[in-house]
Amino acid sequence: MKHVEEYRDPEAVLALAKEIKRITTKPWTIMEICGGQTHSIVRFGIDELLPDEITLVHGPGCPVCVTGVGLIDKAIELARNPELIFCSFGDMMRVPGSDVDLLAVKAEGGDVRMVYSPMDALQIAEDNPDKEVLFFAVGFETTAPATAMTVAQAKEKGIHNFSLLVAHVLVPPAMEAILSMPGTQVQGFLAAGHVCAVTGYEEYHPISEKYAIPIVVTGFEPVDILQGMLYTIRQLEAGRNEVENTYSRIVRPEGNLAAMKLIGSVFDVVDRSWRGIGEIAASGWGLREEYHSFDAERKFNLGQQVAKENPICLSGQILQGITKPHECPAFGTLCTPEHPLGATMVSSEGACAAYYKYRRQTSTTA
């Protein structure tokens, strides 16, 4: 914890906030990509320490929030299969699909288990050879190495009662999607530090050049976030647009080469449907052909789902940074963590959950 406390030091935080105030002369809109950063910002009140000129918009970087309804419906259908043990990260279990969530399936009698690692799910498969065991592989580039390692081990050990419902998504294509939207406000990005720890940040250079936008690799603690903002604002004020790394204690330019090699051997880049945003080309990872026998969508005969979004929920606009959580008419009234209408109210990294948990503002439009 010593290393965390260092980055929550009030003196360092206030000094950075002061420096940001000193150098800011114009209004700027900055998006933090990652939901972990959003929660830090709201939890520690970092936005309240910034000058009025700075507008923060919260990005789509919560893997649970962006997993498509269609995939969640498939997950729910699989979890209801009595022959199957369905393993998922805890966050995913309360995200509503078209009708219900995984916790409701568990209460109905489905064998739905919360795990902390895909390796735990593989262990469950080894311990229950007469059952099919499935892992819901959700996440950005951060969780992909663990998924890849698990599949590779399952193949090596010849474990045939194990499969994955893969929902892995990639950050850079989503950044491009946001920048390509008409009327986008975003002028600078705080890139997600933990994603870059895996992938490095070489692929951000072309995005920064193409869209003339500063991209600063940023960590998650208050000092990290303010440092990322300071670097971004410095670039904006000076008219520069570069990729910079303020999270060098964790992130190297080339990323984690061993992890990337493993990912490359297990996954291919595929198109993916993002909840609230829509289909983004080449924005996810799916299992390569030699691992198709571990692909739950191929292994099980799944019915045709008609994905239904709640018509009131504005999570799409929230994930794109167009609307803030408390600007949604359902926020805090029809939509609460007890009765979430959309994923952004569920996940510990969802923007609506962060606003509800730490601010408890009521809807400003109701």
Binding site: G36, G45, G139
Partner: protein, 352 residues
């Protein structure tokens, strides 16, 4: 939610379309659990003796006043660093009686045992209960045993009920909480919940976290005897400090401000909580309580508490405010305040 059931017609006041079945989250100590208790049990079992929003009922009998409470224990694993289901079943019920200002005297224990449980395990749990009861100075005077089919229990479930004596003239309750009251806590937070998580979830962490499970009657007895004016007490079990403070803020119709600087968490607890994405202020304790008392009595109370083995590390964590909104907020180290709402269901670990 505002529909009142008509007499004679069995209708459920919960919004059934949302929760046709009980979820695990309905037992998590958050708003879901409170809605369940309020709408199903409090409505159904309403009685004049039932004192609102307290850990134990206060019963006026001929000859004196007693406190009466019950609690069930389903902890898994049965044995964990710092305790086991048996000692926990004694501590939990003893502490509930203390919170109502009672001196705990007698407990009952009901065992629901799963077929196939090793006799040695059962004996170890029973011995542990006896040791915990002796230490707390209470007697287990009646009990019941049921055995259920294999697969229909989880080793052992225990229910304990407890009776304690409330001295004449003593009343401790949320409605006595006043603006300006100080809130003290008898030590660091989150140890029981994180010890269980570390033991249960096979996280591969070395089990260095020990539960804080303890009977508080000796410490609370000393506070009572010292003449300090105690307004309210609440043990910080499921849902942790924040849920307890929200319950009291709601009952007392006063807002509460918590100072982040007053929150103590052991480094190993903080580290595991950080990894799991869980806030220790929401994690269960089994030997911690919040004490509401006038500002003038703070020094005296802290001196007594810090001298007692169950109160080492006692500290002031917050203050009751004038405003009547019943909110709990946290003043952060950097200045900005934020809301500390009651948790909704369970804290779900984050994934990245």
């Amino acid at each position: 939610m505002s529909d009142t059931p008509q007499a004679g017609i069995l209708s459920c006041p919960l919004p059934l379309q949302n929760y046709p079945r009980v979820l695990l989250a309905h037992g998590g100590g958050g708003t879901l659990m409170h809605t369940l208790i309020q709408n199903i049990f409090a409505e159904t079992f309403r009685s004049e003796q039932q004192e609102a929003d307290h850990d134990a009922a206060r019963l006026d009998l001929e000859g004196g006043t007693i406190a009466f409470t019950t609690d069930s224990f389903v902890v898994h694993p049965l044995f964990f660093p710092g305790g086991d289901i048996g000692s926990l079943a004694v501590h939990g019920t003893v502490n509930d009686l203390c919170m109502a200002g009672a001196t705990p005297r007698y407990l009952s224990c009901g065992f629901i045992i799963e077929e196939g449980l090793e006799m040695e395990t059962l004996y170890a749990v029973a011995k542990s209960m006896k040791a915990a009861a002796d230490e707390a100075g209470v007697q287990i005077v009646t009990g019941d045993t049921k055995v259920v089919d294999r697969g229909k229990g989880d080793g052992i479930f225990i229910n304990t009920a407890g009776v304690g004596v409330i001295p004449d003239g003593r009343r401790i309750a949320p409605d006595l909480v006043r603006p300006g009251d100080a809130i003290l806590v008898n030590g660091d937070l989150g140890r029981h919940g994180m010890a269980i998580m570390a033991a249960r979830e096979s996280l591969g962490f070395e089990a260095t976290i020990t539960s804080d499970s303890a009977a508080l009657n000796s410490l609370i007895g000393e506070l009572m005897d010292s003449g300090i004016e105690i307004h309210c007490m609440r043990d910080l079990t499921r849902g942790g400090l924040v849920s307890a403070l929200n319950e009291i803020a709601g009952s007392a119709k006063r807002s509460i401000e918590v100072q982040e600087a007053g929150i103590r968490v052991q480094p190993d607890v903080a580290a595991l909580a950080e990894v799991l994405g869980i806030d220790p202020m929401y994690v269960a304790n089994e030997g911690r309580f919040a004490l509401f008392l006038p500002d003038a009595d703070v020094d005296k109370a802290l001196a007594i508490m810090n001298k007692h083995p169950k109160g080492e590390g006692s500290v002031r964590v917050g203050t009751v405010l004038e405003d009547g909104e019943g909110r709990v907020s946290l003043k952060s180290r950097f200045g900005p305040s934020r809301i500390l709402p009651m948790i909704s269901g369970e804290q779900l670990p984050r994934i990245c």
